[in-house]
Amino acid sequence: MTAATPSFQRARRARSVIPGFGLTMGFTLFYLSLIVLIPLAGVFFKSSQLGWDGFWHVVTHPRVLAALKLSFGAALIGALINAVFGTLVAWVFVRYRFFGKRFFDAVIDLPFALPTAVAGIALTALYSGNGWVGQFLEPLGIKVAYTPLGVILACTFIGLPFVVRTVQPVLEEAEKELEEAAASLGANRLQTIVRVILPTILPAILTGFTLAFARAAGEYGSIIFIAGNMPMVSEIAPLLIIIKLEEFDYAGASAVAVAMLGLSLFLLLLINGLQVWSRRRHGQKT
């Protein structure tokens, strides 16, 4: 009787307006395990068949290293480009009215909706040596299709909506009064943007950057068409995994996958830390 009292009280204290913490938490954990953790664990399990030496041998192979470098490097560059120009696009959409704004606003989402293969083929057709755009770049000595540049291009293409769509609502909510306050205090346009507006939307830009990077790092469909897939030059890691699978080298494929996973996780944690830092500068609780 006496022993039962504390637990009874605890149950009472935990009661909140929104019921079902136990149920929803349980479901969340189960769901995440089923959808995310178990398949990923499978990858680790499969690659563990190689043993540490075998794993190390696979992932330090020059061809694998080059592919990883290209995948992550191009994704990072693409995300950086998007962070800059996606922010600019969001700014224009929020701040200005112009003819066809709704149309262009819808166009932003196309990279989301388009089958990636279609996007890849379209980009390839445009940028190859005899394509609409490529024919003008070729004489200048700029080759886009079938080079790492093409990979960056595809990464930029698929990542754009992430930045625009995360920055847009934050910019919309940013009070115009902040700019007016800065101006009344004597700040010029550049000072207002750099010291007032950018810090306000920086967390959103970082989020968009992260999403664009994560998406581009794992992108397959749109890249393989434009990349040309030359080993050591324009071959991306996801493609390498496919190649290994086709050679029935399942353990090797999962080893590359594990390397990708680890790198992604490391980079995402790093960006997350950046976000926490930038939010803390706002004096917000994290």
Binding site: E175, S184, L185, R281
Partner: protein, 372 residues
């Protein structure tokens, strides 16, 4: 810095926000722009600041026309209703911002000294490392004020500075702002829709309606001698009764008694009487017969609603609870009512000037800051 405003016109999408505004403000004055929403008071303030530009007219700061200069070059301190503090900066960084962006930036030490002075002035010493989100509404508004004062503005402009605050905090800040003004002597213009705030705080009140200035005067003038029916109605509640002026004598419609009138004009008039300027009189004294319909006791006040016997017009009275003739009235009682003072205006074709509430009294919770 004295300010002259000459013939300002401003149209927003066919809506005349300012329609020929003229105003003189003396150096060191504390001025209230008072009016309902859409009266143009905020537009006028923003035009003075340089956040809006007039279509026509001149704004002179100390004799120099600055109507086309951007806000950056005007040297005005602007305080926003919702503070507009930079959330990613500490209190000290916020206050220092105006000094920090200057071309001839003062030394770090000088800025720090000035920030500390201002923090002391707004009574927030020790909170310099806090972020705006860690402050109460009243504190935030004081930071905003300190930030505006940091640039030593020629004029201090406040847009509904207490609009987002609790009634209690609002009252304290109001008194505090008055003291601050007396101490620093900045020419100050603030916008409000709250007549009590305007009357209590300002040296002079500018009553605005539909983009025009209805009356400028000190608080006694605008309250006791309203120039227009609108001012009469906007500054407190009012009974409007029909009457007629003949040979300097005023007669209420349906009454045989006459009152002296200063009005030279003859004809039909609307008689404006405030509820507390009505009294209950003996049945033999000059007055209007009425029947009590409702009695409310509010503290030291007795509010009586009654209908006039002659016209059926509804009137409101506010009487002291010490008034022997007012006490223990019941609905249904017959009373005789006489005005102590009143205002006369030519009868308007449609009677009651409509005043809109500027801000809904029960504004959504997110717009009202609760001070801790």
């Amino acid at each position: 810095m004295n300010i002259q405003i000459r013939g300002i016109h401003k149209v927003f999408a066919n809506f005349p926000a300012l329609d020929g505004v003229n105003l003189d403000i003396e150096s060191g004055e504390l001025i209230a722009l008072l009016g309902p929403s859409g009266s143009g008071k905020t537009t006028l303030l923003r035009t003075i600041a340089g956040l809006e530009f007039p279509d026509e007219g001149a704004i002179l700061f100390g004799g120099e026309d600055i109507a086309n200069r951007p806000v950056r070059e005007r040297g005005v301190g602007f305080v926003f209703q919702h503070y507009a503090l930079f959330k990613h900066m500490t209190v000290a960084e916020n206050i220092a911002f105006g000094l920090d962006v200057r071309k001839d930036r003062p030394s770090k030490e000088a800025i720090r000294k000035r920030v500390n002075e201002l923090l002391e002035l707004v009574q927030l010493s020790g909170l310099d490392k806090r972020y705006p989100t860690q402050l109460s509404g009243g504190q935030r508004q004081r930071v905003a004020l300190a930030r505006a004062l940091a640039i030593e503005p020629k004029v201090l402009l406040l847009d509904e500075p207490f609009g987002a605050l609790d009634a209690k905090v609002r009252k304290d800040l109001r008194r505090w702002l008055r003291e601050l003004h007396d101490k620093t002597g900045y020419t100050t213009i603030f916008v409000t829709h709250d007549q009590e705030e305007a009357l209590e705080l300002a040296d002079r009140v500018v009553v605005m309606n539909r983009g025009r200035i209805e009356q400028v005067g000190n608080n006694q003038q605008v309250y006791e001698q309203p120039a227009t029916p609108f001012v009469f109605d906007f500054l407190g509640s009012v009974n409007i009764l029909p009457g007629e002026v003949k040979n300097r004598e005023l007669r209420f419609d349906g009454s045989d008694d006459v009152w002296d009138s200063e009005s030279q004009e003859t004809g039909l008039v609307d008689i404006y009487v405030r509820p507390h300027d009505l009294q209950i009189v003996d049945s033999q004294a000059p007055g209007l017969d009425a029947t009590v319909t409702l009695v409310q006791r509010a503290g030291a006040l007795i509010r009586i609603s009654a209908t006039l016997a002659t016209s059926g017009e509804r009137i409101e009275l506010e009487l002291s609870h010490l008034d022997t003739l007012a006490r223990s009235r019941q609905p249904g009682d017959a009373i005789r009512v006489a005005p102590i003072t009143f205002g006369l205006f030519p009868r308007a074709p449609h009677r009651r000037p409509t005043t809109l509430p500027d801000v809904v009294p029960n504004a959504p919770a997110e717009n009202r800051e609760r001070a801790r």
